[in-house]
């Protein structure tokens, strides 16, 4: 999910930006090294693909919906830093233009959906080597791991309260972890896995 503005305490916002800004700077440098006339259609096309695939909202039982992200796909096709910056850029545009996800929460959303997704997916894929279903497993795991991160960040927000009345996101870890991680294990992880598997195999297949 894209955390909207107002959901996170000021402390969380400052801490997340402090952590993410150096990562963005380093990742941006990596992107600049790799980006040229030859790679632009591929990196640009994959970033566009991440944006487009996030528009395919899939309803699940329980009255919510979600979508694939595409970070793992870019990470295993290119490298995780490129994927981290590409998906961060997608999240920035979604937030600024379409009001999908907040500005104050952009660092947390980028850490979860872009950074953690890209790196967990990449290393799991490397660990599994080139097995038949490595892209699926990498995609599924990355979605589950990043949902756990988002669940923890949201679930600690009730700590900031006024006489027991939460000031920000009101539900604790006992609610956020089953809701977010559970739905990613059962549904959105599968969606991410299938997406990563199909597109990876199709793009890599020799003609």
């Amino acid at each position: 999910m894209h955390i909207p503005d107002g959901y996170l305490s000021t402390t969380t916002v400052i801490a997340s930006y402090t952590l993410t800004i150096p990562l963005w700077i380093y990742g941006f440098k990596k992107l600049k090294e790799n980006l040229n006339e030859e790679t632009l259609p591929l990196i640009g096309g994959l970033s566009a693909l991440s944006f487009i695939i996030m528009m395919f909202n899939i309803p699940i039982p329980g009255g919510t919906s979600g979508h694939a992200v595409g970070a793992t796909l870019i990470a295993i096709l290119f490298n995780p830093w490129i994927s981290f910056i590409s998906v961060s850029l997608v999240l920035l545009i979604q937030s600024v233009i379409f009001g999908d996800g907040g500005i104050s929460t952009l660092a947390v959303n980028s850490l979860g959906m872009a950074f953690i997704s890209s790196f967990s997916g990449y290393y799991i894929f490397q660990f599994l080597k080139n097995k038949k279903f490595s892209p699926f497993i990498a995609g599924w795991s990355s979605a589950v791991i990043s949902s756990l991160f988002i669940a923890i960040i949201l679930g600690i927000q009730p700590y900031w309260n006024e006489a027991g009345k939460p000031l920000y996101f009101p539900f604790d870890l006992y609610t956020t972890i089953p809701a977010l991680v559970g739905s990613h294990i059962l549904f959105f992880g599968i969606v991410e896995g299938i997406f990563t598997q199909l597109i990876y195999k199709y793009l890599k297949e020799k003609k």
């Binding site: 999910m1 395919f56 909202n57 919510t64 997608v90 233009i97 793009l203």
Partner: protein, 92 residues
Amino acid sequence: MKKRLYIILSILFVFLPLGLISEYSAWGEWEPETYKKLLGFIPEGIQNAHSFSIIPDYGEGNVIMYYLSAIIGAGIIYSILYFMVKIKNETN
């Protein structure tokens, strides 16, 4: 690889309205009123958050606006990367 990537993008683009089928929002991405219903109050931070966007919620369910949102969003993302290449080439 490039050609195939653009084939995928074109197919997804055609089927874009499928993304509008779900009437549900993502877990936690609720209207402030939902908190009022669930808790009896809206948390201060959520109440005070003012969100500004140029095309709210990708056109709020309108199919034409959804297509336009995809073109604008993907277009801006691609353009930013394109200009990064331009600037890089000029400074070299």
